[in-house]
């Protein structure tokens, strides 16, 4: 069982909700993002996704787009991701997954990227624009280095495709709860339940967390009833933008069990 899977399993055993948090690397600066990531992990985040800023983030809503654009303006370079992961992993035991569009990894070299990530203490990758069909090299390298690989399952994924991406996923399967790009939504989409049902049909062992659209503690609890975890991103960026690290801590605590 991977480190991420152990967190899900442990929480499940203890009847505790799992909260997966997202924060962009280098937002607003490298130093501040390290501080923010540590604060999130120390205040109730069970698994942290650190996002790599990218010039063409087609899966992200406006909040994340603006945050990652600022990170790039402030000089984020791809190799900074390893320093951020290293510095956060030295301070907290929370598993750290890097969420990245595929081109930066491809340019860096899939193997080289994976080795550096492993060396820095990262647990694996979440790849929003890499489908299993195109992931041959990554599947091989992540097996060799024992890194997690999180693929996305969506309401339009057929059972056949769901089987395939669930089988390929390690750590957890990322359930996209509403069609569409990231951002807070007033209501959780019932479609998430259908996606989770398909994932359960594919495998009873794999964990799945539901993302895109979650912004309240009630939603976190609700999602954890039928899935294994809830993923929150945009809300944390807004909390940080409005109230700095203190705002982020308050927001993290209000969504998690840590009160």
């Amino acid at each position: 069982m991977s480190k991420v899977e152990k967190v899900f399993a442990e929480n499940k055993k203890n009847g505790k909700e799992t909260l997966v948090g997202y924060f962009p690397a280098g937002f607003p600066t490298l130093e501040q993002s390290v501080e923010a990531c540590i604060a999130m992990c120390e205040n109730g985040i069970d698994v942290l996704e650190i996002g790599v800023p990218y010039s063409d983030p087609v899966m992200d809503g406006l909040v994340i787009q603006k945050a990652t654009e600022l990170a790039l303006e402030n000089g984020f370079r791809l190799s900074d991701i390893f320093e951020i992961v290293k510095r956060v992993s030295e301070r907290v035991s929370t598993p750290l997954l890097v969420m990245t569009y595929w081109n930066p990894v491809m340019q860096f070299g899939v193997r080289r990227f994976a080795e550096k990530l492993k060396e820095a203490g990262g647990a694996g990758l979440i790849t929003p624009d890499l489908i299993v069909d195109e992931a041959k090299e990554w599947l091989q390298v992540s097996d060799e280095l024992e890194l997690d690989r999180v693929f996305l399952a969506t309401p339009t994924s057929t059972q056949e495709r769901t089987d395939k991406l669930v089988a390929a996923s390690r750590g957890f399967v990322y359930t996209v709860s509403t069609m569409g790009t990231t951002g807070e939504r007033a209501d959780l989409d019932g479609k998430a339940r259908a996606v989770v049902t398909k994932i359960r049909t594919s495998s009873e062992e794999k964990f799945t967390a539901v993302g895109i659209g979650i912004s309240t503690r009630d939603q976190v609890v609700e999602v954890n009833r039928y899935a294994d975890g809830a993923i929150v991103g945009s809300l944390f960026i807004n909390a940080y933008s409005a109230g700095g690290v203190d705002g982020l801590i308050e927001s993290t605590r209000s969504l998690s069990n840590e009160r």
Binding site: Y54, S55, D56, P57, V58, M59, Q65, E69, L72, R77, L78, W102, N103, P104, V105, M106, Q107, F108, P128, D129, L130, I131, D133, E134, F151, L152, A153, T154, P155, T156, S157, T158, R161, L165, V176, M179, G180, T181
Partner: protein, 401 residues
């Protein structure tokens, strides 16, 4: 590789090592549906018949060939023949693909189409097809482009489309595609993304090429019938590469025909302000396919620069990347100024005002004439007319003062 050894019959998802589907999982079902619908349509005589009839009665196909003798004098006397896609309804080659995809959207039961546009030609063609078929149409256009192609924005709105200026990133074609992809991910169940070039995830590169291949198929027959021989060389401008592949496809297996694509050299090929993806880019993933693209060492896309909104794109269709790597097509750069001078030259020697995009191919022809000699016959895709560019041209040449 494909089963056929004919270059003209290459099929997706891969052209050599290029192409594929680097997309969010959310889009896979829609791409599968599109591919399936397209494959069925390809073998369905009623689809082909309906499209051919539309082209005859609405587009105005076949488009004619025009030999331009006075222009030729400036190309070292080489014969220059234009394939007049500018005479198509809506003023460019874009309508060929749009009508095909709009028919497919109807077959898939999708009532809403979205499109990206750079120069506005694809947006206008999409808005036109939406009006014709009674579909809802939303066009994403970079804010910079809405200003330099204001006339086309007005045309799209008059045709009933909603034009959404995109204010993220470089505010040009690349960002318009990002926004269209976001819309598609959100509304994929009701919406068809009517992609306007031979880029994007499979099946778009192959399908869009096929819809435009009518250009080369007609031109090849016309050359043989009217001029008694195939041309020495082909020339076309390349942004994403749809008009170019449309002309090239029918000639790819004619080994004696040399083929040239002309990219936007912007401020100059010796500067870093250009859109010459195949000359200066590296293979990477942008907008759903692996292809050459302008990027930095971190894999971040570099903004392109061109006076021509339609060529101002840091990516290119995957089949072009393949044709470059196997050496079948040569891709060269033409600067803004060279293109503008060629635009003026064709206007004043032949009474034909080309689009600025197209003018890149014409500037290329002027050089090719010297390279290939006066015995050469060069067939150029005159992909679009220049009406939309009057403001840019007027400013460039000081015609308003």
């Amino acid at each position: 590789m494909t089963e056929s050894t004919k270059l003209s019959e290459a099929k997706g998802p891969y052209f050599g090592e290029f192409g594929g589907r680097f997309v969010p999982e959310s889009l896979v079902a829609a791409l599968d549906q599109l591919e399936e619908t397209y494959r069925f349509a390809q073998s369905d005589p009623s689809f082909k018949g309906e499209l051919a009839e539309l082209h005859r009665t609405y587009t105005g196909r076949p488009s004619i060939l025009t030999e331009v003798k006075r222009f030729s004098e400036h190309a070292n006397g080489a014969r220059v023949i234009l394939k007049r896609e500018d005479l198509n309804h809506t003023g460019s080659h874009k309508i060929n693909n749009v009508l095909g995809q709009a028919l497919l959207a109807k077959r898939m039961g999708k009532r809403r189409i979205i499109a990206e546009t750079g120069a506005g030609q694809h947006g206008v063609a999409s808005a036109t097809a939406a009006a014709l078929f009674g579909l809802e149409c939303v066009v994403y256009m970079g804010e910079v482009d809405t200003k330099r192609q204001a006339l086309n924005v007005a045309r799209m709105r008059l045709l009933g489309a909603e034009v959404i200026p995109v204010t993220t990133g470089s505010r040009t074609l690349k960002d318009a595609i990002n926004e269209a992809l976001r819309d598609w991910v959100t509304n994929v169940e009701t919406t068809h993304y009517l992609l306007g070039t031979v880029a994007g995830p499979h099946p778009f590169p192959e399908m869009v090429r096929d819809f435009h291949s009518v250009i080369g198929t007609e031109a090849r027959e016309q050359m043989l019938r009217e001029f008694g021989a195939l041309p020495t060389a082909l020339a076309a401008c390349v942004g994403g590469g749809s008009n170019a592949i449309g002309l090239f496809n029918a000639f790819l297996d004619d080994e004696d025909v040399q083929i040239f694509g002309f990219e936007a050299g912007g401020d100059g090929m010796d500067t870093d302000r250009h859109a010459a993806t195949l000359n200066f880019g590296k293979p990477g993933v942008l907008h759903g396919a692996r292809s050459y693209m302008l990027q930095d060492e971190d894999g971040q896309t570099i903004e392109s620069h061109s006076i021509s909104a339609g060529l101002d794109y840091p990516g290119v269709g995957p089949e072009h990347s393949w044709l470059k790597d196997i050496g079948r097509v040569q891709y060269r750069g033409i600067s803004d100024d060279e293109a503008m001078q060629a635009l003026k030259l064709l206007s004043q020697t032949e009474g034909i005002i080309p689009a600025i995009e197209t003018a890149h191919a014409l500037a290329g022809v002027l050089k090719l004439g010297h390279e290939l000699g006066s015995d050469a016959t060069i067939l150029v895709n005159l992909s679009g007319r220049g009406d939309k560019d009057m403001e840019t041209a007027a400013k460039y040449f000081g015609l308003m003062s």
